[in-house]
């Protein structure tokens, strides 16, 4: 995307996200009381975030690739399992990938 296209997408996406927040404050409570709605929304969040993990770890453009990002993600998962804070998890992943690349891994 060009810088201008990114700006347009950014403003439109922000407006959509704000409209959703405002709608939540305005709609009658019972509209969203159906448990299936809340459950599906929670699962959509899980699916999108999981798909983003996969795409950020193992793809480049339209190709599947295995590189230093995968071992870095494993380190991040171990850190999360050990209840490390978010910022530490992110830093450990970056350091792992950086070190592996310095050693010659793609």
């Amino acid at each position: 995307m060009s810088t201008v296209a990114t700006w347009i997408a950014l403003v439109v996406a922000s407006a959509v996200v704000f409209a959703l927040k405002l709608a939540g404050h305005l709609v009658p409570k019972h509209w969203l009381a159906e448990p299936r709605v809340a459950r599906t929304a929670a699962l959509v969040t899980v699916a999108l975030l999981s798909a983003l993990v996969a795409v950020q770890t193992a793809t480049r453009g339209n190709e599947l690739v295995l590189d230093a990002r995968l071992p870095a993600l494993v380190v991040a998962a171990i850190a999360l399992a050990l209840r490390a804070p978010f910022i530490v998890v992110v830093l450990l992943a970056a350091v792992t990938a950086a070190v592996l690349r310095a050693l010659g891994m793609p």
Binding site: K21, L48, V53, A54, Q56, A93
Partner: protein
């Protein structure tokens, strides 16, 4: 607890949540620049969108070379959660007039969690506003710090920032796929990973992530189990 003691407890909680959340604005700022956004764009996302999951998703799609429509749709779908918080938060804080859109913009995971953790209406209100304003201020401040630092670093892959982006998403989804009652969420997560990777060679960037959401919609509509999904 007396009303004042509970109010003070809500404020203390708000401050610690704001610090912890605000701090990872550094990673958002750095990753936004690594994904190809400018520093003002990273700042604009934190000011205008102000929703961690949607912001990370937006830069994830942009960084992968996705189309504007895919970036907007992915960020929007991740923002649906905030819309569901509204009906929980609105009666607690009873915001009117100009405060209502302000409250809406500040309705995120953290402010909702702190507000709903307190029974006394006074404490719930203090918790919501202190957390919302606190996270907003620090998240934006640290986004700027991260974006400027990221901008000076050069090639993001050399510093492992691409791996850091994957780790950030893992950190965001982790609490939702671990712990009791998360088996359905785990199944959906695994299905979403398979769908996203399988479609990557076939469709334009950004679309595999969106189509992974279909897994969740199908699971949410057909699953019979009553277990709560965080």
């Amino acid at each position: 607890m007396t009303q004042d003691a509970e109010g003070r407890a809500a404020i203390r909680q708000a401050v610690s949540v704001s610090l912890a959340t605000g701090l990872y604005g550094v990673s958002f700022g750095a990753l936004a620049v690594a994904a190809g956004l400018t520093v003002p764009q990273a700042m604009a996302l934190s000011l205008l969108m102000f929703s961690g999951g949607s912001q990370f998703a937006f830069i994830g799609v942009v960084g992968a070379g996705g189309l504007a429509g895919a970036a907007i749709a992915t960020a929007g779908l991740l923002g649906v959660r905030n819309g569901l918080y509204g009906p929980q938060v609105a009666p607690l804080i009873d915001a009117r007039g100009w405060r209502r859109p302000l409250a809406a913009q500040l309705t995120i995971d953290e402010s909702t969690a702190v507000a709903t953790a307190h029974k006394a209406p006074h404490a719930a209100q203090l918790g919501f506003w202190w957390t919302g304003v606190g996270v907003f201020a620090l998240w934006n401040l640290f986004t700027l710090v991260g974006a400027v630092a990221g901008d000076r670093m050069g090639d993001p892959a050399r510093y492992g920032l691409d791996a850091a982006a994957a780790a950030a998403f893992l950190g965001l989804v982790w609490p939702r796929i671990t712990g009791p009652g998360s088996r359905l969420a785990q199944t959906v997560a695994a299905g979403a990973v398979v769908v996203a990777l399988a479609l990557t060679p076939l469709v334009p960037a950004g679309i595999p992530v969106l189509l992974a959401a279909v897994v969740a919609i199908v699971a949410g509509l057909v699953a019979r189990q009553r277990e709560p999904v965080a």
